[in-house]
């Protein structure tokens, strides 16, 4: 007996006025699944996020968030199930401390003070932001504000996290922090839908790829098989990330795409080779 999907789009079409953005889009996300939403600029990815967050209603088809029809829900209701983070989230912080901003979401959900504190602390810790918890958000550099905004979404402890380009402007160390935090949440059953241009990050953090092309779903498959394949990525405007390309070029057994696995295979294969 299959569990109710956390998110299910059924034949969704949407246009901004006369401009079509999505056409007959259908897919499901199961609890704990980690999904990348990929595609060129303008392919419709941000539109999907807006529909899932309840900011737009589909022209055709239905967006199911669990067993709720998103059409019947206001964004603030959907916040109980969906934690969204939009682009340039660093401009949306408003509380006087990072902690106060992160706790805003759980408090708005009407939770008791102790639960609010727990969720806030967990979110801050997951992103190593506890040292900055008492700072004014606008005293922090933009990268840390972005992490604070992500913490705000995590603190909602939703069944589904929908993130639009969460790693723009972050360096490698901070991206690794985000990967770790998201993998931990996913292990606890949270589903992820992440828009990203960074296929390296996608390969490290996510397992399934939905590729949009001009508003339509062009590919829905496991990332491991997709990211190393330049011939299939090229027509979609995508480029294999270097580690996946390396794995394919050296024909490593199993064609791993995550850094730790590639490193392991490299070592293994090198050990087994005759010394020149």
């Amino acid at each position: 007996m299959a569990l109710t999907p956390v998110l299910h789009l059924d034949g969704v079409s949407f246009s901004y006025g006369a401009v079509p953005a999505l056409e007959n889009l259908s897919f499901s996300i199961a609890p704990g699944e980690r999904v990348a939403l990929l595609g060129r600029n303008g392919a419709g990815k941000s539109t999907v996020v807006r529909l899932v967050a309840g900011l737009e209603r589909p022209d055709q088809g239905t967006v199911w968030v669990g067993d709720w029809d998103a059409r019947d829900c206001a964004p603030e209701q959907l916040a109980r199930r969906v934690g969204s983070m939009f682009q340039h989230a660093d401009q949306q912080l408003f509380a006087s401390t990072v902690r106060a901003d992160v706790s805003f979401g759980p408090r708005a959900l009407g939770l008791g003070e102790r639960e609010v504190e727990r969720r806030t602390d967990d979110a801050l810790e997951d992103l190593d932001l506890t040292p900055h918890a008492a700072h004014h958000p606008y005293d922090l550099p933009p990268a840390f504000r972005q992490l604070a905004a992500l913490a705000g979404a995590l603190a909602l402890e939703p069944a589904l996290l929908v993130l639009d380009e969460p790693t723009i402007g972050l360096d490698r160390a901070l991206r690794a922090r985000v990967t770790r935090a998201l993998l931990e949440r996913s292990a606890a059953g949270v589903a992820l839908l992440v828009i990203t241009h960074d296929l390296t990050f996608a390969a490290e953090t996510l397992e399934r790829g939905l590729v949009l092309d001009r508003g339509r779903l062009a590919r829905d498959e496991q990332l491991a098989g997709l990211v190393g394949d330049a011939t299939r990525l090229d027509p979609l405007g995508l480029v294999p990330p270097p580690i996946a390309a390396l794995s394919a070029a050296l024909d490593l057994p199993g064609r791993p795409v995550r850094a730790a696995e590639v490193a392991r295979e490299l070592a293994r294969v090198a050990r087994g080779r005759p010394v020149p």
Binding site: P242, I243, A263, R264, L266
Partner: protein
């Protein structure tokens, strides 16, 4: 010929005790692309502002040492929506904004704008309102707008941040083209894997000071990998325990593997 020379330059932001740049000496020659790499806050953006004569002239602060510029400079900031004029209703007008401010004659403006639009593949968007563009499209418009002012020294601060893979590829190719036309390019970027194909030299900034200067091979050094500034291939090679020197790119790795 040297386009930009910094000689023991140090810079303090207004009302700040510690310098954002310490004793930086650096030169960029016409026809070359120099990439600035470093952790967040290492000083790359500040260095670009100093090179563009915006610091301390416009943003305040204190500068010691000397900065010498041979050519007019143009800088592409990482936030295209603030660099847009807000006063142009079409992409064409937006790109023409800078040249018009420079007081050039109308036919020269038209020539530069048309050329810039073509280079950035913006001709189909020429009559669009900039306000309706996506972040990536707007970034390309701003790049076109800066290039239309025909700077001899072109400064880029994270120009690929908003771009998708195809947009980034076009950008790196364009940067090489600019260098081949004799412009000097100084580029701050965290897209480490693109640097071997784009840059002639790499300057590693740490805490406002120059830690190392070299060819892109610098990004395969043990030190760079440990600092999180190695290319993906070099970093994973190091992680595998294989001995240095580490390959810089997939192509190098394939060669090494044979």
């Amino acid at each position: 010929m040297r386009s930009l020379t910094l000689d023991h330059a140090s810079f303090w932001y207004p009302a700040t005790a510690s310098p954002a740049l310490r004793d930086v000496s650096l030169e960029v020659v016409q026809g070359e692309v120099v990439a600035l790499v470093g952790a967040l806050g290492a000083g790359a953006s500040t260095l670009l502002l100093v090179a563009a004569d915006l610091a301390p002239r416009v943003i305040g602060g204190r500068l010691t040492g000397t900065v010498a510029r041979r050519d007019r400079s143009g800088i592409v900031l990482p936030t295209p929506w603030t660099q847009a004029s807000g006063m142009a209703f079409t992409v064409w007008d937006e790109v023409a904004f800078g040249p018009a401010n420079l007081g050039w004659p109308a036919h020269e403006i038209a020539r530069q704008v048309d050329r810039a639009l073509e280079r950035l593949e913006l001709v189909p968007l020429a009559s669009r309102d900039p306000v309706t563009l996506s972040g990536g499209e707007l970034q390309r418009v701003i790049i076109a707008a800066i290039l239309a002012m025909d700077p001899g020294l072109v400064l880029f601060d994270e120009p690929a941040a908003e771009l998708d893979a195809e947009g980034a590829r076009t950008l790196w190719r364009l940067i090489r083209l600019l260098a081949s036309e004799g412009k000097a390019v100084l580029l701050a970027t965290s897209a480490l894997d693109a640097i071997p194909d784009v840059a002639d030299r790499v300057v590693w900034l740490e805490d406002g000071a120059v830690r190392a200067v070299g060819t892109p091979d610098l990004l395969a050094d043990v030190a760079a990998c440990d600092a999180g500034l190695g290319t993906s291939v070099a970093t994973v090679w190091r992680a595998s325990g294989l001995p240095p020197p580490y390959p810089l790119t997939v192509a190098h790795a394939v060669q090494r593997w044979r």
